[in-house]
Symmetry: C2
Subunit: 300 residues, 2 copies
């Protein structure tokens, strides 16, 4: 490519996906995992672990009392569903609210949280730049039947459907209720962030509506997932309310159902580097709504 880089120049797609023919051959990641070496809240040993495994478990990112306050605010938001506002997402088989998106724009409490140095400082340190909010949401996996999320790489979807060019985001999942092994906790395959798994199938128009309830396109090949899990195992991220998981956008992750009586609720914030602004989608007819992938993101 000898063209001069301008906003209109289409960069080559380093992570082709939603393939309509051929085999989905896994590709090696071409982006760094840790983008900076500046000091910050994350210790050198923890940075090394994040680089190697693709995630970091933090025992107490906020105190239990603060997590309880955030949970109260999350419940208030869930109960405040406005008519047909798509930011409120319900369980696949039911009316219960599963997620609320863009909480940093609809709640002062969550706006303060996403800008808080305890969270944003981690992202700035790992991404080596200033950061903006790509997405925020609360997930309220109910007890007695909260459904599973199948294995996926967030990056695959964000790249294909939102135009995220590089793997240069940090996601933070902050537990608002205890995450036990048995209430559908986050599971990650360590080291999977180093492999990009192209997915088969063109993205249908308006696909996001169904995919927020249950993904059907953008599903990685089961043989590849099995091989990675056999090599590296599966890490189950449990912890008290206030604990957090910091993870790379390309980690293969998912969660099982929750038949236990105990809801598994968390707030999920995605920080994108300001040097990695959204392009047009790499493999979808049109961008998804901004509440899922902010095209004019709030810098924090």
């Amino acid at each position: 490519m000898s063209s001069v880089g301008t906003a209109a120049t289409v960069a080559p797609d380093r992570y082709p996906t939603r393939l309509t023919d051929g085999e989905p051959t896994p590709l090696a990641r071409v982006d760094p995992v840790v983008w900076g070496a500046a000091p910050g809240p994350v210790s050198p040993a923890a940075i090394e672990g994040y680089d190697r495994e693709g995630f970091l478990a933090v025992d107490q990112l906020v105190p239990a009392g603060e997590a309880a306050e955030l949970l109260t605010e999350a419940h208030r938001l869930a109960g405040a569903a406005r008519g047909r506002d798509e930011r409120w997402v319900r369980e696949p088989a039911g009316d219960e609210v599963r997620s609320v998106f863009e909480v940093h724009r609809i709640s002062e409490r969550f706006a303060a949280l996403v800008a808080d140095d305890r969270l944003a400082g981690i992202a700035r340190q790992l991404l080596g730049s200033d950061v903006a909010i790509h997405q925020s949401r609360i997930n309220l996996k109910p007890g007695f039947g909260g459904k599973e999320f199948d294995w996926h790489s967030d990056f695959e979807t964000w790249h294909a459907e939102d135009g995220l060019p590089a793997m240069r985001t940090v996601s933070i999942s902050l537990a608002l209720t205890p995450n036990f092994t048995y209430n559908g906790p986050l599971m990650i395959i360590p080291g999977s962030h180093r492999t990009f798994i192209p997915c088969l199938g063109a993205t249908p128009d308006g696909h996001y509506r169904a995919s927020l309830r249950r993904q059907e396109v953008g599903v990685p090949d089961h043989d590849v997932i099995a091989r990675l899990a056999e090599e590296s195992g599966i890490r189950v991220l449990t912890g008290a309310a206030g604990s957090a998981t910091v993870f790379d956008s390309n980690c293969l992750h998912g969660s099982n159902s929750n038949i236990s009586p105990f809801p598994r609720s968390n707030v999920f914030v995605v920080y994108n580097s300001v040097e990695n602004p959204l392009a047009p989608p790499f493999a979808a007819p049109e961008p998804r709504p901004t509440f899922i992938a902010d095209r004019d993101p709030v810098q924090v």
Copy 2:
């Protein structure tokens, strides 16, 4: 009741369920948990734990090599589905075999296993009598989407639909693959075997066909389950292939889905005391098929 006890005498129902009106008030168990005090393979301390918690985790009931052989036999059986034979049960949304019933009658290998003193000896010791096979089956929860089993008491169903009079059985779930926290392992609420939770709703005719895939009648009240789990927690039964869980028929148990690549397969054997033969169903129009509840059981 002053009538002379004969085979034709209808005993009072000590565990009324499938109620069509009123509140499902939990009842205290009226049967013992441990029926004998004879020596056997279970240590006095383990018997005490079984009495208190309603179950017993056994690290290695059979060696790993033997578990591997049994798994091979289980796969052979699963692949040998015969036309519309109802003993082969498939996943709710798919064609994959989830369970095969009556394996002690269709496989010499499993016939030998259920008669083996390592299993039957435990049952005889805890039940204080000779024992017969009430039910046997293999469960092959597949990877990548094996479904959950909601909370239930086996006894509630066996009493209502099969006419099991007393809580005098021992169930043994023998792991044929590793049971991790993340592949849908058995979960039990310790101590729940001491409470009988009547369920609401009359049993429809032929209910068993649907209930083997997903239970809709015989579902205990969520508030009661939540209270018991808050009081006593939830025990997740993990272990290597060859490990086992021995449990009382009235334990509240269930399992989450399995999105992991690793199947969770086990063989499940229910020993009933020969002094507790099946009566007519206590709350169903007709008995279920004998492959689910053997009315002419093999004594072992």
